[in-house]
């Protein structure tokens, strides 16, 4: 099979040759007087996978390979000779493996071919195998890159969903606690009457909707604080994760230098954080209005306070004196529903699917 081919045909474009015919089984056969099997890249790939599954070319036998591959029309004869060639050609393959890891993820085709050419006893048919292998590796690297991006994004979306759920549960619990305490009567400090609270509570608050919380905030500083803190805390994190803030530069959290080789989309989909140091101790740099907002969230530990404050500053909240709750939740930029696809300027999150999540 291989020795009959001219070297020029080893460019992977088997389908273009007029003398090839694709049979019912999916195998590509030549239309010579004596039909021969063409080992296409895909078929060879399946062969290699099957061999790998069986523990390598030395352990695999044509029979077992045939069984594992499960390709109709493939006979033992085909496999016998292909396996023999593969075994002969396998030796230099090992060098590729080491070569590529030593040099980093981009094994240059030139290096590999040079390596190959220098090995003694190379026959053209093995050269063809080598070339195929090289192409396969490069193709694989590109695939890996693409897949990694998609996988990380998928993971990010999933994280978002569990975060939301956790917030909702928390809000629910606190709401339950609040109503229970209110019912008891004396549980609340401040000016909350039980009736006013239950009126204010209303329907279970969705962490993303503002009006109920605004109402609540007017009244007290206990449970509402908890809800406020968590909701806007997490909402702010979301904002950062999805990169709504136009002012943020495209810097992956913690990464000092941008990597031009990797897709921008990955970083955009991930947490953005500027490298600015926020000096927590220098409180004098905070505006008074922000300080009032911070002081409201009294039950939170001081560090988390500062965290909230930093998030606030970043998202550009404006505040005015005196108005308590509302401004914690005011946002100049329009809210984005967290259930819509994660922001990705290059297109859909998951290719080929139209409803990524929710």
């Amino acid at each position: 099979m291989f020795h009959a081919k001219k070297p020029s045909s080893m460019n992977g474009s088997y389908e273009n040759r007029a003398m090839c015919v694709q049979g019912d089984s999916g195998l590509v056969l030549t239309t010579d007087p004596k039909p021969r099997l063409r080992w296409t890249v895909e078929l060879h790939e399946r062969f290699v996978d099957a061999v790998a599954q069986l523990g390598g070319p030395d352990k695999a036998t044509p029979k077992t390979i045939m069984r594992v591959m499960g390709v109709k029309g493939l006979t033992l004869y085909h496999l016998k000779s292909h396996l023999q060639k593969f075994r002969l050609g396998k030796q230099p393959h090992k060098e590729y493996g080491d070569h590529s890891t030593k040099e980093g993820s981009r094994a240059s085709a030139m290096d590999i071919q040079r390596n190959v050419a220098s090995s003694s006893g190379m026959m053209s048919r093995n050269m063809n195998e080598m070339q195929m292998e090289v192409q396969r590796r490069l193709h694989e690297q590109l695939e890996v890159q693409r897949h990694l991006q998609l996988r990380i994004e998928a993971q990010g979306k999933y994280m978002q969903s569990i975060l939301e759920r956790a917030c909702q549960t928390l809000a629910g619990e606190n709401m339950a606690a609040a109503t229970a305490a209110a019912a008891v009567g004396g549980g609340y400090k401040g000016n909350l009457g039980s009736s006013s609270l239950s009126a204010a509570v209303g329907p279970p608050p969705h962490p993303l909707s503002f009006p109920p919380f605004q109402d609540l905030n007017i009244y007290g500083n206990t449970t509402d604080q908890v809800l406020d803190h968590h909701n806007f805390h997490h909402q702010n994190i979301e904002n950062h994760f999805t990169g709504n803030n136009a002012a943020d530069t495209n810097i992956y959290l913690g990464k000092k230098r941008p990597n031009p080789n990797f897709g921008n989309d990955v970083r955009k989909g991930l947490l953005m954080w500027s490298d600015q140091d926020h000096d927590l101790s220098a409180n004098q740099s905070i505006d008074d209005e922000h300080r009032i907002q911070i002081q409201m969230a009294t039950h939170v530990s001081t560090d988390l306070d500062s965290l909230s404050e930093i998030y606030e500053r970043k998202s550009g909240l404006s505040g005015d004196e005196g108005n308590n709750g509302g401004k914690l939740l005011e946002r100049p930029s329009p809210r984005r529903s967290p259930l819509s696809p994660m922001m990705n300027p290059n297109g859909g999150l998951i290719q080929g699917r139209n409803s990524p999540f929710g």
Binding site: A52, S100, T101, S105, R137, E140, Q141, V144, Q145, H147, L148, L150, R151, I152, E153, A154, Q155, K157, Y158, M159, S161, I162, L163, R165, A166, T169, L170, H230, H233, H234, I237, F241, Y252, L253, G254, K255, K256, N259, N261, F262, R267, L270, L271, W273, D275, D277, D279, L280, D303, L304, S306, L307, I310, I350, Q351, G352, R353, S355, P356, F357
Partner: protein, 485 residues
């Protein structure tokens, strides 16, 4: 690049004869104060000891930022007395930087506290005193890496101390973080460091390769926590399979009632989240929750379907509800092996597995590990960054405390083998090779983060992520050695 460090040498530096000096110096109150008076001039007590250590061996510990591989430096020192002497001269002549000397002092105190709290020379009073002093010196809002690290370790040790010695330990309010905060911190950590995703993505890639031609996939997950790992697996399956060739995914998650109701509820919640996610992307999926009453696992608790490919997934590299006692892991792996899994993935931290080396050794190892982790975070985010502080407090602090509890556990629970891969190797598992694609992916993942992370091969069948010269987390792949009926 090799990553080995001479622990024996390192221990000698500290504990050859100086331990007694350390213990007796404080207890005999050489400066004339009583132990209960916390105004002891600690410098007076310890400086002599510290200087004697430094003078004898010429050891300069730099656990500050960017200087994790201190043992590498000391390798040279230990080998020749002459070198150490000359270095000792150098050290005593010039005034050490305040930060360095403080860092050094903190480490000494931590080790002293650790040692005082366990082992043959156990002394409750001494431990209490040293811990009090440590608390004075550090807080988790401090400026330097070393101080913060020391703060977390101090807290962890204090909790241990209270657990063992105080009748009614007060529950510190700041200890209990709600689930939402923990998840936030976890997400932040994923974005700060490849530590989490290295384990998940490497394992997932290996799984995908192993089940490429299977119609039904059944994953048995030892400790699923939030199930984050499976989001990317589902996405990969969905984008690979179009049309009728969709592969069906089934996940069985284990929970152990020993770990409490909260862990059981968490596993159920994870199931709901995963089911919802799978539905949203169109992946055929079903979830089963296998409740175990004890740490022992038996395959009869699982529901198996004919013709499915079983994959065993064992993630041991992140803090969990449970303590993941070695016996429970062993029971799980031994039993699961009988299912003839297509693949067994194991991800574990490179910490403190050598049980018969004693508590102190494991403590130092733990200190190194977290020191490396802190350094790796520092490289990306400065110490003042609030996100980092948040992650440290909510996530890493409890993680340290959890680990400290594990390494002080009874001997019965402590691992007696060098590492999990070693255990698997000698208990009927065969290594499974790591693919080219997996190696590529790991390197790509690292390229998203700061320089300093490296990935190495771990034998034939694994990859290990490290920060500079310290190994952090390893992923390895196995199958059963024999086919079982």
């Amino acid at each position: 690049m090799t990553m080995n460090y001479p622990y024996e040498d390192f221990l000698d530096l500290f504990f050859s004869t100086n331990t007694d000096t350390l213990a007796t110096a404080a207890s005999t109150s050489s400066c004339g104060y009583s132990l209960n008076d916390l105004d002891i001039d600690w410098d007076c007590d310890f400086r002599d000891v510290i200087e004697s250590i430094m003078g004898d061996e010429g050891a300069v510990m730099e656990l500050e930022t960017e200087s994790v591989p201190m043992l590498h430096g000391q390798e040279g020192l230990c080998n020749s007395a002459s070198t150490s002497l000359s270095l000792a001269d150098g050290v005593s002549v010039e005034e050490p930087k305040t930060d360095e000397s403080k860092g050094l002092r903190l480490v000494h105190l931590l080790v002293a506290a650790a040692e005082a709290s366990t082992g043959a020379n156990k002394s409750r009073e001494l431990t209490r005193v040293i811990l009090a002093r440590l608390k004075d010196l550090v807080s988790s809002g401090d400026r330097t890496n070393m101080e913060r690290l020391a703060a977390h370790f101090t807290n962890g040790l204090s909790k241990l101390f209270e657990r063992d010695n105080v009748l009614r330990p007060q529950q510190h309010r700041d200890d209990v973080y709600d689930q939402a905060d923990v998840i936030s911190a976890f997400e932040l950590l994923q974005n700060m460091s490849p530590y989490v995703n290295f384990g998940y993505l490497t394992a997932t890639q290996a799984i995908l390769e192993a089940v490429k031609y299977e119609r039904r996939i059944h994953i048995v997950d030892y400790d699923i926590t939030e199930g984050v790992q499976w989001a990317s697996l589902m996405q990969a399956l969905v984008s690979k399979n179009t049309g009728p060739s969709a592969q069906h995914l089934r996940i069985t998650a284990l929970s152990r009632s020993i770990n409490g109701k909260k862990s059981i509820a968490a596993v159920q919640e994870t199931g709901r989240r995963l089911t919802a996610f799978a539905e949203s992307i169109g992946q055929p999926f079903s979830y089963h929750h296998c409740k175990l009453d004890t740490n022992a696992f038996s395959t009869s608790s699982l529901k198996l379907v004919r013709g499915e490919a079983v994959v065993i997934n064992c993630m041991l590299h992140l803090p969990r509800f449970s303590n993941q006692t070695p016996n429970s892991v062993i029971s799980f792996l031994s039993e699961a092996k009988t299912l003839n899994p297509k693949l067994v993935t194991l991800v574990h931290e490179e910490v403190g597995l050598m049980g018969n080396q004693g508590f102190l050794y494991r403590f130092m190892d733990l200190l190194h590990q977290f020191s490396a982790i802190f350094d790796s975070l520092e490289a990306g985010l400065s110490i003042a960054n609030p996100a980092r502080g948040f992650v440290e407090r909510v996530f890493i602090g409890p993680w340290v405390a959890n680990w400290l509890t594990r390494i002080t556990a009874d001997d019965a629970e402590v691992e007696s083998f060098a590492s999990w891969p070693q255990w698997l190797e000698t208990n009927g598992f065969k290594p499974m090779e790591v693919s080219f694609a997996n190696r590529c992916q790991a390197k790509l993942l690292l390229s998203l983060f700061n320089d300093g992370y490296i990935v190495e091969e771990l034998g034939q069948n694994g990859l290990v992520l490290g920060w500079k010269s310290r190994r952090l987390v390893s992923a390895s792949f196995w199958v059963s050695r024999e086919l079982n009926q």
